[in-house]
Symmetry: D2
Subunit: 334 residues, 4 copies
């Protein structure tokens, strides 16, 4: 038996996600007042936010835009050397865009695209969050006070992107970024790859690619935020419902990932998940769990079947041939 190559450990974790929103003020209300995130910076048409447990200064960037969707997905490198290695590998693969000086709170970053066209970047240097006095926690290992406002999401957890070719994007993530493949849904006796869940950390998945049933490109399925207990997800359902926010599915338990989930649409239209449970994977030789049509079933372990919109709807919303579904008016600025 030939010696197996050692796993790549060059990506440390998901760093931040940028969401486009045609309703920036309402989106900001949702993330700040209902989910309990904090605003740390404003720049042009963007607002930077954070969960109370995120160590980085900002982990969510809301950008006013004509359509909902995902902007730049940022990954933190494990070291300066790792950043250089990945940048070279991505450039060699023809996916590179180039170096930037970095977004708010970060050093130089290497920007690129995944095969489906989503924008991503890798960076190493990052400003740790220093809380202003009113957000200072009396827990020395907590970067920020737990305010008790709304849901109180602790940190970002993962995101799921749609892709026309799941296999190509999955290979990109495992081979070029070094993510470990955790679970898959495969139909047609394993021939059709419907979705793949991957991670650079012990967190079950930080990136998923799921097939885009409308054949569009660069779209977002959902962005997920973590709370510590299942009870917090139930409490989130109470808060969101009291405030008239649409809950698409859950609270229920997935079979895939064992995650305890609740899916809502933030006012801009992006699907947001409030998430807990799941399990950590620390095994270096984890064998991906594969589900076929029958096993995947309702998409839940218990709880109602995921609705059809869970398959059909993503942002930006498109018609059958991948054209934008509607052209909302341009939003007011922040």
């Amino acid at each position: 038996m030939a010696a197996q190559a050692e796993p790549i450990h060059d990506i440390a974790h998901l760093g931040s996600v940028e969401l486009f929103t045609p309703k920036p003020e309402e989106s900001l209300w949702y993330f700040r007042e209902l989910l309990g995130m904090e605003v740390v910076h404003r720049a042009k048409e963007s607002v930077h936010l954070r969960g109370y447990g995120d160590y980085a200064t900002s982990t969510l960037k809301l950008t006013a835009s004509r359509n909902a969707g995902v902007g730049c997905v940022a990954w933190r490198a494990a070291s300066p050397q790792a950043l250089e290695r990945r940048a070279k590998a991505l450039a060699d693969a023809g996916l590179g865009i180039g170096w930037t000086n970095g977004d708010f709170g970060r050093g130089r970053s290497y920007r690129f695209r995944d095969p489906d066209g989503h924008t991503m970047e890798i960076y190493f240097e990052e400003q740790k969050f220093v809380a202003p006095p009113e957000l200072h926690s009396n827990l020395k290992n907590l970067p920020q006070k737990y305010t008790g406002r709304g849901v109180g999401v602790r940190r970002i957890d993962h995101l799921a992107l749609l892709a026309s070719d799941v296999e190509a994007n999955r290979k990109f993530a495992t081979d070029l970024l070094g993510f470990q493949l955790r679970e898959q849904v495969r139909y047609d006796n394993g021939k059709t790859e419907i979705g793949s869940w991957m991670s650079p950390t012990a967190i079950h998945h930080q990136l998923a690619y799921v097939v885009d049933v409308k054949g569009a490109h660069g779209r977002l399925h959902h962005f997920s935020l973590w709370v510590d207990n299942r009870d917090d997800v139930l409490r989130a359902a109470d808060i969101l419902t009291e405030n008239g926010v649409f809950i698409e599915a859950g609270p229920s338990k997935h079979n895939n990932s064992q995650g305890f989930y609740l899916y809502t649409y933030e006012p801009g239209g992006n699907r947001v998940e409030i998430y807990s449970g799941s399990f950590l994977v620390t095994a270096p030789d984890w064998e991906p769990v594969t589900w076929n049509e029958e096993e995947r079933g309702t998409g839940t372990y218990w709880g109602a079947t995921l609705p059809d919109s869970f398959i059909q709807y993503a942002t930006p919303d498109v018609e059958g041939k991948g054209e934008l579904a509607k052209t909302p008016e341009f939003p007011v600025f922040f």
Copy 2:
């Protein structure tokens, strides 16, 4: 500034812990009936158990012994190459004992001692758990049925060892094993290292060294098992109390690690923690959080002060000069 060395990723995670018990039958009752673990193997004076979510066949080994305490602590390597590298480094450091064919369910293992004298080993090859029919889960990504018996611990989490020289053992873990230092307690204006919490994974800590106030060697402070929600820890308190098991402290919340804990003594005398909460660390440049006398305070974030026994008692129990505190009768065999 000289280029910083890249972090070592050679240890994947804590693999298993062996506990010595002078009351093997009672200890087995505690772990199986109260904590809900499963017996997977019996060999001579040992019984191998597992949590329902552990992917490996066995993660806890109970061994009948004259005194309570910790036996071999096993770490899984990240790859076959990583195993060789660590074995060489440990041998070079003069800590090596040598290669074995491996314990139940494992391939060859390299055995060594930490500076304080605790026995450890590293291995890579491991048998994944295949559940017998009665323990088959209908969740494809769960290695074993969740039986609903007792506390239902999901997996092992970490252990805390006593050491006469915390600094020497902390350096061993960070420099030779590649663990990341997460938190420390330092007294006397930082001059005296009281305890250090470290991890090879995103789990906050999988190994802690705390000063042995009695100057003994090779002792165990506690072994910790994970449940998914804080409510499960409360339920554990109900179950343990109904069964007359001593709860030393908690349920309460630590300041250090933010863990939600409950400490009990299993019938053999070893301190066992039922644990949830805490937080994951994925930052590659995590700056260790250091607590002084005053900040460490009661040892809790909220909840009662940790009792004096939490400092004074460990296994094996010793008198002032490190001599065994008592000589229990030799236990019956399993």
Copy 3:
């Protein structure tokens, strides 16, 4: 303003429910092994069980029968005098059946029928549960040890009966039994009474009448058991699913009653609810909350729409004209 009559306080609480089951052994497994109830008595074709927090000796009676359904529903009187008063009122109303010496653990009981034909009885004298040594709790105010086996239901909570004429049965319960009306569902601008929820205690409802869409009589919609926290309902979903028990709906939150629910079918076919949350009503002048078609909506506050089976299925199961849907083989005896 004429003086209002004072409320009747003659019924203290729901005492016990008898369930018929064509699969007595499987039903027993469900209530004992999965829900964690205890068997306290066996007599002929019946088994008597209890929740760990029930103060009475037995609160659930399982009786082997050709068809699933509900047997006798027993209510405890508030005093010996109250028992006599209610017996007289029921006899005067032509609903009486007569006095019996009482079921297991009880004194004389007055048996009667509700207008829809369900069998009920009232009693006052009752044997308090005295736990055998192995079930002795070390909590002096807990009648029985919390065993930690399975779901661990604390006590019975309520039951919902189907009725062809909800209004007539609701008036029976409020006027003859003295229950307080808590909530109603009324369609057609309030003209059609679809369901009514009532209680003789501060518990939100202990008896509900819901319209029988198949025009049958004497049927059971569901029987409900209480757990203390929402997290226990989620844990119940895990346990039931792992054991292949069908979950019809939930865990989710009702709008009506605010109850946090999970509906399953026990193996005999009866719908069983695992229940928590809701709210207590202590107001003597509580104004019933009425929901119309639109407000009732999905039947949930959040979570998926209640499935069609929730309306169509009850026990015994009947075809369109109220004939039994199937004739299962006669069950084995206990």
Copy 4:
């Protein structure tokens, strides 16, 4: 056997509690911002508040005062007739003060003192809460929106008063008010009544009398607010600690009442409990559970021993001979 008198059902429930506070602004911050209560009315030196699930307009009245302590404790009668009956009985017993036109949101009330000197009143007519638009809940059976701010206490639960003669006050509550005795602590082979827990509802206790070890009169031990789940109590501990509020004991579980508790001091000095768990009592012939010195033990079922301050401290705070411990400056008005 002579016929036993029937139980009195004239008191429906605890209606409201008035707390005196020398720091009215800080106390208001505590109850509104941290516990999440709403202000519904201001009058002179008082502010009226409510929990989101209280059906009455106001259930807590904060009154600026030189010293902390309890003002008027109001009980709702079960009917107009019940109000008259109780007023007569109290007057006959020489405890009456007289009729008033009622506090904010209420009709005429009969004011009296308990034997220890605490001020109380009974009323029947009460204004139900009608939420202003910004507090309107989309749950039709919830009187007010669940705002998600802070702890989010649902409703008031109970209060514990100190008394020099527990027996006399206990008899007053059971014989004159008709409360059911639920539990007792008795020392000296049952001869010394240390504390008694009673209730007019199915709630385990709404009034407790505990011996005043300093021989003072009219003092408050604690006032208790309800949350639905144990997890909410843990979350309260996080919120209170982050805001520098002193936690005297808990979160832990009482043996007496099985309540899951957390005791804090609101800024004015009154002890406030955040409470869940416990159990309902619907048995008409409940036999009081009695605990002796040994059984009462630490005061907890699990968790740390209640601290000495739990016995020694009450409001107003007094020195050994019942004199006020300190004379704080008179507070600013609201």
